[in-house]
Symmetry: C2
Subunit: 464 residues, 2 copies
Amino acid sequence: MTATHPYIDQHLSRFTAELMEMLRIPSVSADPQYKEQVLRCAHFVENCFKTMGLDGVEVIPTKGHPIVYGEKIIDPSLPTILVYGHYDVQPADPLELWHSPPFEPVIKPTNIHPKGAIFARGACDDKGQFFMHLKAVEAMLSSDELPCNVKFMIEGEEEIGSEHLGYFVHENKAKLAADIILVSDTGMLANDVPSVTTGLRGLSYVEVEVTGPNRDLHSGLYGGCVKNPINALCEMIASLHDEKGKITVKGFYDSVLEISRDDRDAMAKAPFSEEDYKRALDITDTYGEEGYTTPERGSIRPTLDVNGMWGGYIGEGAKTVIASKANAKISMRLVPNQDPEEITRLFQDHFERIAPTGVNVKVTPHHGGHAAVTPLDSIGYQAAAMAYKETFGKEAIPVRSGGSIPIVAMFEQVLGLKTILMGFGLDSDAIHSPNEHYGLYNFEMGIKTIPYFFKHFVELSKNQ
Amino acid sequence: MTATHPYIDQHLSRFTAELMEMLRIPSVSADPQYKEQVLRCAHFVENCFKTMGLDGVEVIPTKGHPIVYGEKIIDPSLPTILVYGHYDVQPADPLELWHSPPFEPVIKPTNIHPKGAIFARGACDDKGQFFMHLKAVEAMLSSDELPCNVKFMIEGEEEIGSEHLGYFVHENKAKLAADIILVSDTGMLANDVPSVTTGLRGLSYVEVEVTGPNRDLHSGLYGGCVKNPINALCEMIASLHDEKGKITVKGFYDSVLEISRDDRDAMAKAPFSEEDYKRALDITDTYGEEGYTTPERGSIRPTLDVNGMWGGYIGEGAKTVIASKANAKISMRLVPNQDPEEITRLFQDHFERIAPTGVNVKVTPHHGGHAAVTPLDSIGYQAAAMAYKETFGKEAIPVRSGGSIPIVAMFEQVLGLKTILMGFGLDSDAIHSPNEHYGLYNFEMGIKTIPYFFKHFVELSKNQ
């Protein structure tokens, strides 16, 4: 690949400028107000595909936001790599905590990014990361060094559970036929500690509503006489963990595959400092399930967290009201063998059962997904490890992540393909938070590492 | 009072129109955005005072919203009645639950108001009620039947704790000198069951903030590893009541004066149907402190309720975030002998003590007030009872209310005056809620009952 890397060096500042242009589009999939912007972003990706010379470029409508597809088939007898990514982003609120507007990307120096970082919603998750694949393939095409076929499928609903992707994949098995799926939507341990995510947690996300009296009441006249829906919801949520940090939802742990002591010992070799972790988050202590370390709690154990809660008067000042309703968004991270639909059902049953008298409870499932694991002896994982070694000069560490990319399990089920998660983000990139950013060094290293994955994957495939 | 009542009948529709004009002014004291509107409403009241012929009319600035004052001194040797009310209103949200805009008053028929009701924020609390006094005095003045001196003090901060009224009263003891204070800011049991509020609960209102990590986190990566501030706040709130419905704040009940069995038996004579109560609120069961009836829980017992709570992502759809902060507004209703400042301090100490490791807690006091009780053998109470008998044809029932008008205790302390609470609202008027309304029958009966209070109070004063 003698021409690809010089091409990348030569065009890197243009690549950055193009990414920043895409980051100006507020493609927030969760909020219907941004529907047009999400579509605009799909067309931006379409345009990139066309400019770089892909064939069969399409913006494919779904019942939600569209999927952008493009491909380059150089020889049907060669392996095919299917690149997946998503052009939608998380909502940007709370806006007041951003130091610069979320959709006006700026490059600023940071303590840990040697070349500074782009600050914008979606910079790391996932625009900055999927865009690396476009630019890597552009570089290989322009240098006549693309070693195999490539297909791109970039969707617009990842942040809302990829609701319509499953149907699309199901209906387009032939179109999407490939040998491996390649995704950059995760992180690595540090800029000098490359890693490949080999496990992902599953997800069950629900919304709950607790209803008490049929209208908001004056808390002076009714206080102490009726079950207050907010107090009731607090009690119910508080009861979802026991004093050992275990989740009390009946049956929740029944299907969990316990990890062997050996595997836990292997995991424990990854560098981790509890003190640094606490300092970075400015917390006096960590918290979690008794009997597990912080990295274990965040990867191999299922969890339950409230992601949002609201009820009653939340404006300025004081209002003496007993709200008629209280609401919460609750998500559970799942581990291999836990079925998200079953967990959602168990939660629903449990939550309805623990409702105190005087209130009614409604549980609405949002979305879910299975956990997934990539075997270390697969040629996909091997090719990734070799690619990192070429650019970073050291072997990548396999890491089980706490996050969820539910579609990874779906791809395996529907297309029969394993997914390789070559993420170049850092833990501190504040994805899903105010001031999300992505290091320019990471962006560059991603674009340079990806062609090596292509090369080694093709070579390892030949030897099979 | 042979001329006053015909005058009222003749001018009643104009009175209603004037009230509706005032209700169009969104004088929401809690929200700084409405500051100008609050001031506009003060000038509206000033104008009413001038038009009806009061002297010494002033809009008196405070550090917050102004107080409107006016008086008619016909003979310094006669008794003086000081009328108190408030022209500010509660915030109108949730707006989507109003059937007509909160500041566009409309008259609609209802099942229980013989002449229909005016629907608007502040219709009952307290614009519709304090306005009755203006119109009653206008009628007596116009008919040459005002039997004593009258002073009006209408403030603009009742809904936010009357923060600057205490200072004003303190500085104007001579100006406010009177024999009794008369207030209509409470309710009566039913349109055919007149009642006088003889007890009010005190209040301590606080806002709490729980802070965990220094930024919002991705719940996949951090879920299960850090104490989630929303979950923590839920646990803390849940622990504020025990399984008997008792408040667990240390020392909370220490100064409560227990009510005698006799007094509880007397209270139990007021008509009350638990079934009707549940049906009206559409709840399967009531809830409260073990060992007390629903009316007792709502009047003679102290309580604690969450009035608002928020944290994390509360928009549409799903966001997998662990919030950095969670907040709640919490109020406690107090009974005689509980000191609001002490209770606030006890709450603060307790809440900080129960914070789990990994989060920090901040408690900010909003406002408070003492409970108050009016003796049934006072001439003020007697005059009220006789006034109701004149218009309703039956004795008023003395009622201990669960609400708080903290200034009643302050008036007694600073001015040495008892307050008579002649409220004409109904429980179902939805004060502090969407679709607040006030019956036109109640408005009329109020205007007609008030002159009888003046008359009987002057007569009873002579005999003392």
